[in-house]
Structure formats: C-alpha cells, structure tokens
C-alpha cells in the first residue's frame, strides 16, 4: 500500500478524503450510526476514536519488530483496549454529561475495525512517523465523517446545531432522523454524494480514478 515515493503528508491527506474511513472504506459503522444523533456527540466520539487510533498506531509501529506474528492480533487488541480505557476515564473527568451521552460506545471503540485495521494493515509495516500521520489522517477523517452525519441529523431531527436552536418554533422536528433509522438515511445520503463525486471525477480523468480504486482495494 505504501510506496517509498509517498511522503508522510500524503499518508495524512489520504485519510481525510481519498480513503476516508467512513465514506470510502465504509469501516466502523457501529459508532457512525449509533452516536451521530447530535453534532456534539459525533464530534466527541470521532475525536476519542482519533486519539485511540493515533496512539495505537504509534505503539504498534514502534513495537512492530518486538511482537511475534503469531500473537500480533491479541497484542494489538491489548494496546487498543488500554488506550480506550484511558480515554474512558479522561472523558469522565472532563464532562460527566458527555460521558452519559456517549455511554457504552466509548468502550466499544475497542472493537472498531478501523483501528485494528490500521494497526494490522499499516502500522505493523511502517515507521513510527508515517504510522502517526496515517493514524492522524484516518482519525480526523473519521471524526469529520461522524460530524457530517451528526450535524445533518441534529439539524433535521432537533432543529438545532450544537444545542443552539436554528429555526423558528414552527419547525416540526423530523424525529426519525434522531432515531437509529435516521442514521442509515443520512449515511446513505452522504455515500450517494461521495460516490457521485467519485464517478464524476472518474469520467473526467479515467487513469487517475483507476489508481484510486486500486489503492482503496
């Protein structure tokens, strides 16, 4: 996946857009659908995941020659679970309200396949610096995607953004957008937009698009 010609800036950029974990790779759908009912929850969840991703990428990559192949998955999970626990306590210390809103989903970052996926596919084969940039890019890309979903769902479902009322009282909230089904609708909308953009780009420059799809695969 990583060729020597790629700079660490490229590793950072790719997670934001070209290989966005949610809109392009479609990974880690459980928190994406469950915790994106308000912009604030989505952003907090995204940043918590990004922190775990960066830290686990750094640790996995710096220990990559120390960990035997046979026990690598168990070791990665151990490292990821440790950082998730750290985040869990940190959020409780920062804001109890936020902790209540995110609930069990903080602990469930452990099983987010995006994090184990990056550890296995990237950090275990690349240097610490590149792994950190990869984690940062993917993490921010993930947080960005969650925020996109959360903002749309909160605006339509509750008529507010970050708790601030946007519309006149006569606006009828689309309650369905706050409920789980709203997560699917919103995700579908964003994926539609992203695929449409990709296809449009592919029509314009066929060769570049081929390279992109190969890389994602």
């Amino acid at each position: 996946m990583a060729t020597p010609t790629k700079s660490s800036t490229d590793e950072f950029i790719k997670g934001l857009w070209k290989e966005n974990p949610v809109f392009v790779q479609v990974l880690g759908m459980c928190p994406v659908l469950a915790v994106s009912n308000t912009a604030m929850n989505a952003l907090a969840m995204g940043l918590a995941t990004a922190f775990v991703l960066v830290m686990s990428n750094i640790v996995v990559s710096s220990l990559r020659s120390f960990i035997p192949k046979q026990v690598r998955i168990a070791t990665y999970i151990l490292i990821i679970a440790t950082f998730v626990t750290v985040v869990d306590y940190a959020i409780q210390a920062v804001s109890l309200d936020l902790y209540k809103a995110l609930g069990a989903f903080i602990s469930l970052i452990v099983v987010n396949c995006l994090i184990l996926g990056r550890a296995e596919a990237f950090a275990s084969k690349n240097t610490v610096g590149r792994s950190m940039m990869d984690g940062l890019g993917m993490g921010i890309g993930f947080a960005f995607a969650l925020f996109c979903l959360g903002a749309v769902r909160e605006v339509l479902g509750a008529g507010s953004l970050f708790g601030a009322q946007l519309f006149h009282d006569s606006f009828q909230d689309w309650v369905v957008m706050i409920l789980p089904s709203g997560g699917f609708f919103t995700l579908a909308g964003w994926l539609l937009l992203f695929n449409w953009l990709k296809q449009r780009k592919a029509k314009r420059e066929p060769t570049a698009a081929l390279g992109l799809s190969k890389e994602v695969a």
């Binding site: 120390f66 192949k69 306590y89 409780q92 706050i178």
Partner: protein, 226 residues
C-alpha cells in the same frame, strides 16, 4: 533479544518471544491504566458530587446549601457524614432556614432504570421540581422527560399531601393522558413518550408513598441546619 532473531520468517519464534511480548505489553498496559485511574479518580468523584449538588439546588430553588440525611433504624433521620447511602437531602437558605427536602428515587423506564431527584416543599406539601440524573430513554422521544417544558411544569407544584392519619398520600400520583390533567396530583403525559412519562409518575408515586409519611413524622430532625 532484538529484532534479528525474528528477521527470518521461516523460523517460528520461540514460546519465550510470545510470552515476552504478551506479558511485557500486558504489564505495561496495566500500569498505564492504574496510573490514569488514580489520577482521574478524584476529578471524577468531584464531578459526580458537583452534579448531585447542582441537581439538589435545582429542585429546591430557594436553597443555597444542603445536608445529606439517612433514615435510621428507629425511623428518625440522622445527618450523614461523608459518603455512603445518601437518600434525603435537606436544603437551607442563606439564613440556615430549612426550605425543603430533595429525595433521590429510581425505577424502570422504557430502556433502563431512570434515576431522578425531586424537591419537596413542606410548606406547600408538594413536589416543586424534578431533575433526571440518569436515563437511557430513546433520544428524541423518551428523553423529553428531561427537557419538555410542558411536562416539567407538572412538577412545579405536584400535590403530595398526606391523609389525616399521616400514613399515606391523600391522593396517589397518577399519570393521565396528555391534556386531561385536572387535579394537582396528576401527571400530564407526553404524546409519543407514554411509557417514559408514566414511568416518571410511577417512580414519584412509589417514592413519595414511602418517604412522605416518614418525613412528615420527623420534620424536626432536619431543622438543625447550620
């Protein structure tokens, strides 16, 4: 002990290498978690205590300080020092005069247990405010029990006066359909959140049936504010 030993993929690593990596990383992770736990514990406990204090002052708007009490075996109330099973909080105004009591209560909601605290004013013989402490009700529907102003206005003055023999509530707190509230002891429900709003009424009723006669009999226990 270095990466050289693992350089050749053909040779499987020894058991020792596996143990070394798993146990080593395990010990390190354990230490990290213990450290973070120790560092954050006082902050988390302070946050929780502050949240509770805020809730007490919210349901007893006239109060500026509060004391925790627990029900002793002989039926009287005693001041509780430090942590433990805190159940009833007495609120005092700036002059140290008792203004009301805050009581914690919980019961089953739609998804999970709902924990709440309510303020009781003995001069009005009524519940004068509630705040939900913990709930996992459906976002957008059931969680209106925390935010719906019309629903919360039920608890600006919810009658909990006792019968003449002071053994139980004169009128149990009952949930009614939205818009049909006609008595001060009825709770006007929320359309679309029937189960959650009925749960609140039932939690309050059960708790008030238990606490109000006991509090009424021992009101003097709380007068000794600071």
């Amino acid at each position: 002990m270095s990466s050289h030993e693992l350089a050749s993929p053909a040779a499987p690593p020894s058991i020792w290498h596996m143990y070394r990596s798993m146990v080593g990383i395990g010990v390190f992770c354990g230490l990290l978690i213990v450290t973070v736990f120790q560092v954050t514990r006082p902050v988390i406990e302070r946050n929780k205590a502050e949240a509770l204090q805020e809730a007490i002052l919210h349901v007893l708007p006239a109060a500026s300080t509060s004391n925790a009490y627990r029900l002793a075996d002989d039926g009287a109330f005693e001041v509780l020092e430090g942590d433990g099973e805190q159940l009833v909080y007495a609120g005092y105004d700036a002059d140290g005069k008792l203004v009301g009591l805050a009581v914690e209560a919980q019961g089953m909601g739609y998804q999970d247990v709902i924990a709440l605290i309510y303020g009781y004013s003995f001069t009005e013989d009524a519940i004068i405010g509630i705040q939900v402490l913990e709930s996992k009700e459906t976002p957008g529907l059931g969680d209106k029990i925390e935010s719906d102003p019309e629903f919360l206005s039920n608890f600006e003055r919810l009658d909990v006066s006792l019968t003449d023999d002071r053994s139980k509530l004169a009128n149990p707190i009952v949930p009614v359909k939205h818009g049909t509230k006609s008595n001060p002891w009825e709770v006007d429900g929320i359309t679309g959140a029937t189960i959650s709003s009925v749960a609140i009424a039932n939690i309050l009723d059960r708790s008030a049936q238990y606490w109000m006669p006991r509090i009424g009999a021992n009101l003097s226990d709380f007068q000794g504010g600071e």
